[in-house]
């Protein structure tokens, strides 16, 4: 159990973490989300007693981290996979950390096997890839077989096999009754791993709720419907029927319709009533990524001049207001990718031809869809 | 790729890190201040010195005696210029931008050497004029024989020392190791070697021992009888050392995986 009360950290005039209060309960994987620079790492460092809060406090199982009798046996943490002396071998690195808290040496070999590094145990960590470093970091966190685990971006650099393993590992650790607190930027991963989410932005708490609840609150799912291709009027008829029934209909590039605001059985019934045969009727859950983006919209610190959110908001060009057969109207064409365009160079700075088409001339044949 | 572009780039690199200014400023200030201090000491105690020392007294070299410590800062400067590329990983970006190893090395050496030479010359002239002013009646002037050579020699010496440090760091690819080895090599090894007769001759051929001959102006038997070379010969020996270090650095840079 981790409990933060009014946690605040200021660096000079900048407030990195602002009056943060939350609880992380045992038996769950709790995800910790927020844009870059929102104070996640600082919060984790304060939980671990590495940074001193300007005000407020955070306790682990009731006592501040630095007062835990045997910290490593209570709390394991992965903060920075590369925080290893490169000249040391993996096993001796773990051994030196284990000895610090009187953890038996055989536990070192145990955790090396758990993370799959037993063959690399005698290598110097300088030659480790990011993924191997990450595994070593996870091994360090598991050394004390602790009740509370903190992971900062645990899947960074791991291959799919490793990602899957971390996902299962975290779920199992939580199922054993441990408190698992994970920060990650990979929403698809978080959606699969975390039961509960704590979201912060600009150092403030934005949400503290279950993952499903979070998605439901912050976004809407949709249905993908495709009429039979053999029935040329089917799509228009279906679109009209769905729109009349109060659904919001957008067209996807392959001709299918994206419907929001109507349940699947209802769509089925409407299609049936309109005499349209369906070749596809699939539900799409909204993704955590989308939900997260909507929530943290105003709290992003480093924004490109080329706003990626355009993809999320500019779905309307897909709509077919008059049911004209306008093939998947392409989004606003991106003439020069680099915004702002350099002055006096015709939109392209150096080597690039002024228009993409000049290079990939054949690409003009098909409506290029930058989505 | 135009070599001038590499030079511009290296100049930006060198002027935008803090270590450059503090190492070179330390080199200048320490050398000038200590030289001035010792000149003042000597001026006050000249009459009490033994006659042999009075005869062999070299007012020019005396004003450069702060170089003993200033050179440490020059070594650290050279080691940091190269070592920080490795410790930060910048070397990979640099090599991706300038894949020709020779050009990169040459660019870096040219810029850093030129900078060290300029600072060295400034150090030489400042130390000289300040030192001579404090030496009072025992002072000399630029017009005297060999004096201008010695003052310019300070610049050459500092520049060569910086190149030497860069070559060694390029071979070791580690700042801390390079600094420790360079300082032991330059400051402590000569002292140790000259303690024993058998090794005293070896000490003459160490880079800084040989190179510092350029800063002497008085060639009385009392001073130079030991050294088997003149000022330019000494500098030549130092140049050989420097060339060896740079060659070693180039080989490491071009052969080893970055």
């Amino acid at each position: 159990m981790i409990e933060a009360v009014g946690l605040t950290k200021r660096y000079g005039a900048k407030t990195a973490v602002d009056q943060l209060s939350f609880q992380v309960k045992p038996g769950h994987v709790t995800g910790f989300l927020g844009p870059n620079g929102s104070g996640k790492s600082t919060t984790m460092r304060m939980i671990l007693g590495l940074d001193r809060p300007t005000s407020g406090h955070v306790t682990i199982n009731g006592s501040p981290f630095r007062e835990l009798p045997n910290a490593q046996r209570h709390v394991g943490a992965l903060l920075d996979a590369k925080a290893v002396h490169g000249g040391r071998r993996a096993r001796t690195h773990l051994l030196s950390i284990a000895q610090l808290s009187g953890i038996p040496e055989k536990r070192v070999d145990e955790v090396l096997a758990v993370v799959g590094l037993q063959d690399a145990a005698r290598q110097r960590t300088k030659g480790f890839s990011l993924g191997m470093g990450q595994r070593l970091g996870i091994a360090t966190a598991l050394l004390g077989d602790p009740q509370v685990l903190l992971f900062d971006e645990p899947v960074n650099g791991l291959d799919p096999e490793g990602i899957l393993w971390v996902r299962n590992l975290m779920r199992r650790l939580a199922a054993e009754g441990r408190t698992v607190f994970v920060s990650s930027h990979l929403m698809s991963e978080m959606a699969l791993t975390a039961d509960h989410l704590i979201v912060i932005g600009r150092g403030r708490l934005l949400a503290d709720m279950g993952t499903q609840e979070f998605i439901a609150h912050n976004s809407a799912g949709f249905a993908r419907v495709r009429a039979a291709d053999t029935d040329p009027d089917g799509r228009d008829a279906l679109g009209t029927a769905l729109t009349r029934a109060g659904g919001r209909v957008l067209q996807e590039p392959d001709g299918a319709l994206r419907v929001t605001g109507l349940e699947l059985p209802r769509i089925s019934d409407l299609a049936h009533a309109a005499g349209v045969r369906l070749w596809e009727l699939s539900p799409h859950r909204a993704s955590l990524e989308e939900a997260y983006m909507r929530m943290t919209q105003s709290a992003v610190e480093y924004t490109s001049t080329d706003d990626p959110r355009a993809e999320l908001w500019e779905q309307d060009p897909l709509a077919l207001p008059a049911w004209e057969d306008e093939q998947a109207a392409p989004e606003v064409p991106r003439a020069a990718f680099f915004a702002p365009p350099p002055p006096g160079a015709g939109g392209s700075p150096f080597l690039m031809p002024s228009h993409p088409g000049e290079l990939a001339s054949t690409a003009k044949d098909s409506p290029e869809d930058t989505r | 790729m135009a070599f001038s572009a590499v030079l511009t780039s290296e100049w930006t690199k060198i002027r935008t890190v803090a270590s450059t200014s503090w190492t070179l400023a330390t080199a200048l200030l320490v050398t000038v201040a200590m030289g001035a201090g010792l000149c003042a000491v000597v001026n006050a105690t000249f009459d009490t010195m033994p006659e042999s020392q009075q005869i062999a007294f070299d007012p020019t070299q005396m004003s450069f005696s702060g170089m003993l410590f200033g050179q440490v800062a020059v070594l650290i400067f050279g080691a940091m210029v190269v070592g920080s590329e490795y410790s930060t990983g910048m070397i990979r970006s640099s090599l991706a931008a300038v894949p020709a190893r020779g050009a990169l090395l040459l660019g870096k050496l040219t810029v850093a050497t030129a900078l060290a030479l300029v600072v060295g010359l400034a150090t030489g002239f400042l130390s000289f004029f300040l030192g001579q002013a404090l030496l009072g009646e025992h002072s000399t002037t630029l017009g005297e024989e060999n004096v201008l050579r010695a003052v310019i020699g300070v610049g050459l010496y500092m520049a060569l020392l910086a190149v030497f440090a860069m070559g060694v760091s390029m071979m070791l690819r580690n700042t801390a190791a390079a600094i420790s080895i360079l300082i032991s090599f330059v400051l402590i090894l000569p002292i140790v070697l000259s303690l024993v007769d058998a090794t005293r001759k070896i000490a003459f051929y160490l880079p800084n021992q040989a190179g510092s001959a350029i800063m002497q102006t008085v060639s009385s038997p009392a001073v130079t009888s030991d050294a088997p070379y003149g000022p330019w010969g000494g500098l030549g020996i130092m140049v050989l050392w420097v060339a060896a270090a740079v060659l070693g650095g180039y080989l490491v840079l071009s052969r080893r995986d970055a």
């Binding site: 030196s96 009187g102 360090t140 | -």
Partner: protein, 278 residues
């Protein structure tokens, strides 16, 4: 991994079968020892120390005759190598802590052991015992070689005091290393801390020579000239220097001064390490 165990009062809490001793200094000592012996820079620096002390010392022994030892002690040959070797001890001292900061390992360490003083104390202890042992061993190898090779009648009388002096000399070098470690803990940057330590060793003689000029500060200059590192070390190894500066200070006072300086810096390092964000 272990299966779930449930306790009645905390229904969903995990407890581990591993022993959970209250960690003490002994654990930290074992940890620091593992850290020290598992990196190559330890081998390099200590190897350089042994090589210079024994190598230069043996060279000196081979170049001297029995009569030379009338005025110096048998341990004096080790001094010349140690003048270089002390740099290696200081570098190792700095690296012991600064490499943790450079790599970020310090965060892992302090996460595993939030009682930072325990870790720091272990670092000081492990480093100083190692440095002293290696220094003393190489010094005594040279000393014994000298006494065996030149122990004839012409060498005059030698007492056990010179061996004690050499031991004190090794302690002196070790203290310099501890000072380097403390400065490393304060500065947290390898190159910076090494530069500071080299300044501490090499600057005072020159500073003293400058201060001695002015009447007002001449006594201070004289003190510094007599008490700086190279002079103190020479004295401990049986090389009496100076004379025109007046009576040399005792070995005891030389060591005491370094003990005080090192102690103050070490104390500062405890305060800073305890207080700082890492």
């Amino acid at each position: 991994m272990t299966p779930t165990t449930t306790t009645p009062d905390r229904p969903r809490s995990y407890s581990s079968p591993l022993p959970s001793p209250r960690p003490h200094l002994g654990h930290a000592l074992a940890s620091e020892w593992t850290k020290l012996i598992s990196i190559r820079s330890t081998l390099w620096t200590l190897g350089a120390l042994v090589l210079t002390v024994v190598g230069v010392g043996m060279l000196f022994v081979s170049q001297t005759s029995d009569r030379d030892y009338e005025s110096i002690s048998f341990t004096t040959p080790a001094l010349f190598g140690l003048m270089v070797g002390q740099v290696a001890v200081m570098v190792l001292g700095v690296l012991t802590i600064s490499s943790e900061h450079a790599t970020g390992l310090v965060r892992t360490t302090f996460t595993a052991a939030p009682d930072r003083f325990r870790v720091l104390t272990a670092k000081y202890l492990v480093f100083s015992v190692t440095a002293f042992t290696v220094t003393a061993l190489s010094v005594f190898v040279v000393g014994i070689a000298a006494s065996l090779a030149h122990g004839g009648a012409a060498a005059g009388a030698h007492t056990a005091d010179e061996w004690l002096g050499a031991a004190a000399g090794c302690l002196y070098v070790t203290l310099l290393g501890v000072l380097a470690l403390a400065i490393g803990a304060l500065v947290r940057h390898s190159a910076g801390a090494i530069a500071v330590m080299l300044g501490v060793v090499t600057l005072p003689p020159v500073l003293g020579a400058m201060l001695i000029v002015w009447e007002a500060v001449a006594p201070i200059g004289r003190e510094i000239l007599q008490r700086n590192v190279p002079v103190a070390l020479s004295q401990l190894f049986g090389m009496q220097e100076g004379g025109d500066l007046g009576a040399a200070p005792s070995n005891f006072s030389n060591v005491l001064i370094l003990v005080l300086i090192t102690g103050a810096t070490v104390a500062a390092s405890y305060v800073m390490v305890g207080r700082r964000d890492v």
